[in-house]
């Protein structure tokens, strides 16, 4: 069984909150089994990393668990969150206003490296 999972958020977007919970739930499920999990934010998904953004978003039919709750569940189990620097710039995101759960910055090369590494499984949302 592979023990490393990298997830790329590319089409996950705060304007479609019903799509936002799933990747973090997958991340939490894998991390709960002590799989090493990275979540890479690219494109407009980096908007979820702005303080307050995900906390005000809810998935379909669930007004009790915010998208931020899902993100925190994943990070509590050890999942690491990485933002693409180009995406942050393209979306005019102020880095000082990012959520504290963000682990760091990692771009396309980092995720491509995970795809090419046979020790890692990858998922793209």
């Amino acid at each position: 069984m592979k023990t490393r999972l990298a997830i790329l958020l590319w089409a996950v977007d705060p304007s479609a909150p019903h799509l936002c919970a799933t990747p973090f739930f997958y991340a939490a499920a894998a991390a709960a089994m002590e799989v090493e999990v990275e979540v890479h934010f690219a494109g407009r998904s980096v908007l979820l990393l702005m303080q307050g953004a995900a906390a005000s978003l809810y998935g379909a039919g669930d007004q009790a668990t915010s998208i931020y709750d899902h993100m925190q569940q994943a990070t509590r189990f050890g999942a690491r969150l990485y933002a693409c620097s180009d995406a942050l710039e393209a979306q005019s995101v102020d880095r000082a206003l990012l959520i504290p759960e963000l682990t760091g910055i990692a771009g396309a090369a980092a995720f491509a490296g995970r795809v090419l590494d046979p020790e890692w499984a990858t998922l793209v949302f």
Binding site: M1, A29, M33, E34, Q73, F77
Partner: protein, 149 residues
């Protein structure tokens, strides 16, 4: 059988109370592991149980698998160190068995213990059970504002 605030804790089992797991040393020397009735109650209805591969070595208190509930995931922590011997296929098919029969058909996995004598000393058993469960329930009440009932 100890019954504490309505939750049963069979006297012939050992417990890792804070992780809601029980363990039974079977006559063949291997161990059966499951979730306590209290753990099943506070978790809610289980949807799926996923375990690490059979044959994998697992250290005490490390994840042997995960349980999925509605919108929530929990890690299943091994109460002892051992090698994963088997998984309850009934529970893989119908995870709700854990809620309905946590000490019977709802068992989770079997382990070949690798350091039972050492690990058993760190588990709760016999007369220690009520006090340990009361302490744990007080902690839950402090965290969530109410005692499980």
């Amino acid at each position: 059988m100890s019954t504490i605030h309505g939750f049963e804790f069979p006297d012939d089992l050992w417990y890792l109370i804070e992780h809601d797991t029980w363990i039974r040393l079977d006559s063949d020397g291997n161990a059966t592991i499951g979730i306590t009735s209290l753990g099943a109650h506070i978790s809610g209805e289980f949807i799926e149980f996923m375990a690490k591969p059979v044959g994998e070595s697992i250290e005490r208190e490390r994840a042997l698998g995960m349980l999925e509930m509605s919108k929530v995931i929990r890690s299943v922590r091994a109460p002892i160190s051992g090698v994963l011997l088997g998984i309850n296929e009934k529970v893989k098919d119908t995870a709700g068995l854990i809620n309905r029969d946590p000490y019977g058909d709802g068992w989770l996995a079997r382990l070949i213990p690798t350091s039972w004598e050492t690990d058993a000393r760190l588990l709760v058993s016999g007369a220690e059970i009520p006090g340990a469960v009361e302490k744990y329930m007080a902690l839950l009440a402090e965290m969530f504002g109410e005692r499980p009932s």
